[in-house]
Symmetry: C2
């Protein structure tokens, strides 16, 4: 069987399984998630042995340390996976929820009911923990999922999917509910993106080249999870110690993730009084700074920012700093250079806070809080499958609700249209 | 300027205008809509003269009568357009609505606020009334719109857009908020679909070849408005006179639209008693029937349905009829042959009604009401831009809310992530 044939058969069986998944009871879904959680705990040694195959390949190819870290199924990662499955089992089932119901003048009762999307194609990095998390979220929301993790994690992902499929089979659930593309060939992704008769949405997580490839080739709707060029704007009337706490947290607490700050914007009157000391704190935390002309004049050890810096996602202990004349100037900068992912203002001025919340249309906009809160768990959605940077369907963190759509349901008494 | 350059300039200016549209007050938006409504009334003669150019071209090319009807800016169509603009002005402004707000354990207040999508690319049939309706809805929802109507309506559409742009300009609003692609070239659509840096969503309305072309070429998210193969299922315990009313209304009241019934499914025990008389009523209403083997045995004058008939959207006084053994058989048929657009059950059995509502995942599912109610106005959303058959973002009628997305807003007091 060639790869196109195999993908077609995967997609067809996924569609078939999605019909029965859509009507599975909440109790059965939760039971399955808990059994998978238990099996992962029992099969720890097997999963780590399979993971070791991926790890030794990656080491042989001299992948960077951070890459190897994300690839590793350590005991801690497996513990989190086991806890994560239990957590998804505890979340409310979105399927069948009626989000609103109203009566029409002709007596029709009209409501909107959450239903599964159907079949989700998930394309992601070489992080085997995502394999379990994404499968659990899709399954709980009543969707079949076709997984395509980074090729470097293929052994780990296959082992995890085999384990989940065994549980499905034992529980008399169509095992095509969770499937993986069994090859590392890049061509397989292109083929997958053609199967719009069977797959309802593609969720790609990753860098620019992956997202571009997906948009280039997909005949299926795409909800992209792309980069975060996130800003903190420190307003004229910001509290200096709150500003320092938020700026340090946004940059330093976990610099390698999409909701970390990449550019600091500072109002000139705050800058005059406090920027020197803020720069000192950032330097002490090990952050390299790239500043605008005025910033470079305030302190030593800052290199000049280039035009490119303002739109760069460093994912590292590097920060661009710019002094702005006004909040309008700050908002203009964010609209021009940002990626509309996560942006925060620090201020004690009521009008500035409201203006920033209203005029910055990023997926998460915060007043007096760290950008690091752009996360499904932190915002109260429960577990997340990722953070959408597409404005369509879901903008920002995607939890269980965002893995559903709604249909209209209508209770009539024989009404016809005049 | 070649067409690619011109489209780029249209898309860029649309993006630019969308920033100011997003923060326009409700009062100003409503004022503009009402002035446009007045201007259309004043410019009736001019609009009809421009429309006449399109009509004489279409007549010379022997377009069918129904096509010419949809192309005509009659006094009635203009009256509806004028009333429609006033109606959109009266609808609540979705922009800035906070759809929910909750408090996190760390004290963060987290909410979701509706914001415009940004720039909408609207591709539609040769119906100039859609030009005004779609522009009004996009404008009220704070979006810029780039219109591409059927080439046969180009004179009418250009006249309407010129009129709307004059009003925008007089009201000091960026006239790029409402633009039209000034050429009938098909290549222009392909070019438009590449401009993902400036356009946020493409809404195509039309037949199979248009929708396919759009999915084939678009690098922009697509919300398709595609065909309706809609069913009425008459259950064993249906009231025969209610069934007849609904079946006739769903087929005959306006056969040329996407929410008209194309296939009638009848439970065998209802069929034994009442199908003969129901077929008589359909025949008297001028409907040609194509039946399954059992249906053909019940009455004369029914041709045998082919496999293809079950998935055909006739848009005409033609109906496929099938007798089914059970509600499960009916649901199976709908899942296999339907387009998940609009499906109705007629029944007095509580369990059947609930089962049908739960297991049929079409965009609108009705109990004891005509399929013709799948319409934004009828379901209480106000005016609609169309009926989405994409499961992503909006499934079913798209009103003003569906032309927005949501961002998360967060009110903090200095919170940082641990």
């Amino acid at each position: 069987m060639d790869i196109a044939q195999e993908l077609l058969s995967i997609a067809r069986s996924a569609k078939e399984s999605s019909r029965s998944l859509a009507v599975l009871s909440t109790d059965r879904k939760n039971r399955v998630l808990r059994i998978i959680s238990t099996k992962i705990a029992e099969q720890r040694a097997f999963l780590q042995a399979e993971n070791e195959k991926d790890l030794s390949n990656a080491r042989a190819q001299d992948y960077p340390r951070a890459f190897i870290d994300r690839l590793t199924l350590s005991n801690r990662v497996l513990d989190e996976m086991i806890a994560g499955l239990e957590e998804v089992a505890q979340l409310p089932d979105p399927v069948g929820e009626v989000t609103g119901m109203w009566k029409r003048p002709n007596g029709l009762l009209v409501g909107r009911m959450r239903i599964p999307i159907g079949v989700v194609g998930m394309i992601y990095e070489s992080r085997p923990n995502v394999t379990a998390d994404a499968s659990a979220l899709c399954f709980k929301a009543g969707n079949a999922v076709i997984l395509r993790g980074g090729s470097e994690a293929l052994h780990s992902n296959r082992a995890l999917v085999r384990l989940m499929q065994e549980v499905l089979q034992n529980e008399q659930i169509h095992p095509a509910a969770i499937q993986i593309i069994p090859t590392a060939e890049r061509e397989a992704v292109i083929q997958l993106l053609q199967l719009s008769d069977y797959i309802d949405v593609i969720i790609p997580r990753g860098g620019e080249s992956l997202i571009k490839t997906v948009y280039e080739h997909s005949k299926i709707p795409v909800i992209a999870h792309y980069k975060g060029v996130c800003h903190v704007y420190v307003d004229a009337e910001a509290d200096p110690s709150m500003a320092e706490n938020i700026v340090l947290n946004a940059k330093v607490q976990r610099p390698g993730v999409c909701n970390a700050m990449e550019t600091l914007l500072v109002h000139q009157s705050f800058a005059e009084k406090y920027l020197h000391s803020l720069i000192g704190a950032l330097h002490r935390a090990g952050v390299s700074l790239r500043g605008c002309e005025r910033t470079c004049r305030i302190s030593n050890g800052i290199s000049a920012a280039t035009e490119e810096d303002w739109s760069t996602e460093y994912l590292d202990l590097i920060l661009s700093v710019r002094i702005v004349d006004s909040i309008d100037h700050a908002i203009e900068h964010i609209n021009r250079y940002g990626s509309m992912h996560t942006d925060a203002i620090v201020t004690n001025n009521y009008a500035s806070a409201q203006k920033f919340l209203k005029e910055v249309n990023s997926s998460v906009v915060l007043v007096n809080a760290s950008t690091r809160f752009n996360d499904g768990n932190q915002l109260g959605l429960g577990a997340e499958i990722g953070i959408s940077t597409s404005k369509i369907h879901a903008f920002g963190p995607m939890g269980l609700n965002e893995l559903t759509t709604t249909k209209f349901i209508v209770y009539g008494e024989g009404q016809i249209r005049a």
